[in-house]
Amino acid sequence: MTALTSHLKLLEAESIHIFREAAAQFRTPVLLYSIGKDSTVLLHLARKAFWPAKPPFPLLHVDTTWKFREMIAFRDRMVKELGLDLIVHTNHDGLARGMNPFDHPPSVYTDIMKTQALRQALDAGGFDAAFGGARRDEEASRAKERVFSFRAAGHRWDPRLQRPEMWQLLNGRLGKGETVRIFPLSNWTEADVWRYITLEKLDVVPLYFAAERQVVERDGQLLMVDDERMRLLPGEAPQTRKVRFRTLGCYPLTAAVESDAADLDAVVTETLEARVSERAGRLIDHDQAGAMEMKKREGYF
């Protein structure tokens, strides 16, 4: 038996309920697996929801080719250990056009390598529903999300036309051309995610824990030099600092924080004392006002 608190038990049961409703109502769901802590919890809950059967859907990872190396290694190990189906999709058209996080503004790069790539993958797989690990506490436009978030043809999100969602009732009936994004972690906070990972003893990518890493300081942010593709500006020299990451993404666009939190207990304590929100380390969200909402309207999950 688990040692979850009553609050985490409640969140867990709510998420399991959502997974089961979705599996019952949609024909071809897929789980967007982005390897981070939220995806780790998402996947664990999916396994619980259908146990002793396996989750009745594959995982999908949209790989920009700029993810941290440790993320990819972790992904491949998890999929193998759990015996799950994984689809990896990269926007090769974008790559061919030379898209990279250095020469293009974060908004353009993200749109092509993440948003458009996701749309390509969902269309190619004929998926009518995609589970995502987004939480309402992450960001202002996410605070307005439904659990079943309907997208018109072309994956567009219209925040003014969201389907009302009452009580525990989840209406998954699709209109013509519609697809849906499903957010089982809607009501979880960052602290809940870490507490759950601790109490359930879940494995996470080691980048979440403080260690000596090669970083450069740029515009007040610490960027990790994960491979030889990292472009250094004149005068920049990699230095060794004890850092960790609160969120994981493309390494040139994900800032580290200096930290001594080297294990789960320390990470939880640090998260609870944090005075800066987690997405502050995501360079793509600060590109323009309402950046996340704009990305979501275009089909970002």
Partner: protein
Amino acid sequence: MTLAALEETQSVAPAARTGDKSEPMLRLLTCGSVDDGKSTLIGRLLWDAAGVTDDQRAAILNASHNRAVNGERIDFSLLLDGLVAEREQGITIDIAWRYFETARRRFVIIDSPGHEQYTRNMATGASHADIAILLVDARHGVKRQTRRHAAICNLLGIKKVIVAVNKMDQIDWSEERYRAIEADFAALAGNFEFAEVTTIPVAALTGANVVARSPEMSWYDGPTLLEYLERVDPKVETEDAPFRLPVQLVLRASGDFRGYAGTVTSGAISVGDRVVDARSGLGTTLRRIATMDGDRKTASRGDAVTLVLDTDLDISRGAVLSEVKRRPVNADVIEARLVWLSEKPFDPEAGYLLRTATDLTPVTSMSVSALVDFETLASTPAHECGVNDIADCRILLGRPTSLDLFRDLPLTGNFVLVNAVDGSTVAGGVIAWVQTGAAAVGENVLVLDRARLAGLCADLGNSPEDKAEFDRRAQEVAILLRSAGVPVLIETDQ
């Protein structure tokens, strides 16, 4: 609790690692009329009770300088209004969810729009709340929209409300004015089934009586808003509620495992207890409560589990497993009170589906009998209803389904109404009365199935896409037939 005391409690205490709290989580709805200052009040609560991070603080301080709505003050509403249109127009369109915790308790704030055209979003929020804060502008008193919101809270089963009389600073902290509003609302609340109404005078902009006690209102000796919120009991069901588990899925796995997955919506069940499927009337004994963390002996309200039965009842999604003595009704006629959510008004000829706990049942016919007045809750006979209306209606189902009355068991006594053609959710309702075996499913009803529509659907096979297309065509045919006065029932084999 003073602000200083609050800050002290927020340093990480021993229980913080696991997040244990002495009080259960509270889901809190905030509603009121436009410009009563809802978003500002919640922003203030988050700001003062430390639910705001440093970068959010900096962004808000920065954005506040770009807008002059509150003069030189911080614009707390920016913490809540997340959509671009909302920031541009300075109003709340959709509900926003915010999470924060104090030493005693964890809170979910559901901030709902005040604007009348977004009442449906407010109703959505209310269905998730344990308790509601109704905001009243001290300068204007109880308004029409406040009454509407109180009525919707009441309809959706909220039992405790807080009337926050805001902008007390704008009326010179007048006790006399405050008492008049308090009395006004008490008279209104007499019409409703609220168990507890608490009135608190506040000023969201200055923070008076939100977290810190107001020196300007020494005449007020009740709790501050946060003091009340930290102590109030969220709604709890009675101890001996009957057991219900609406079946979501049948799970099969190797070793001939067959289990019914679902969440217990009320009561409790133990291994060895008798359970029945209300629809078929068949009963058996509960053999296992299976979870990935190991088998359990009991499961109770809120638990998401998988039940393994001694003998297979051959049931599927939509069935409700219950205890033997107090079962749901196997109903095909219901009378319900609903709030209409769709911009498209009720159309007796359109095709609707009834979405209950886990069942989706075709509606054979539906009629509106009355509209409910927000102020008096009196019913006026009517046959139409449109967006934001509260209406009483009668619904005939194409087949019976297991239902309870909302006042007894809310989670098996609620429903949403779904437009069968475009899938949209058009209304949310609560079941007031049910009947078995009285529906007009008989010789007068034309059943549309694959055989009857064979010509029209000759091009369709059995793929999921084709089944969906059959359903769509059948719904369109049904609309035509209903407009010609023919009762119709669609049978899909999905």
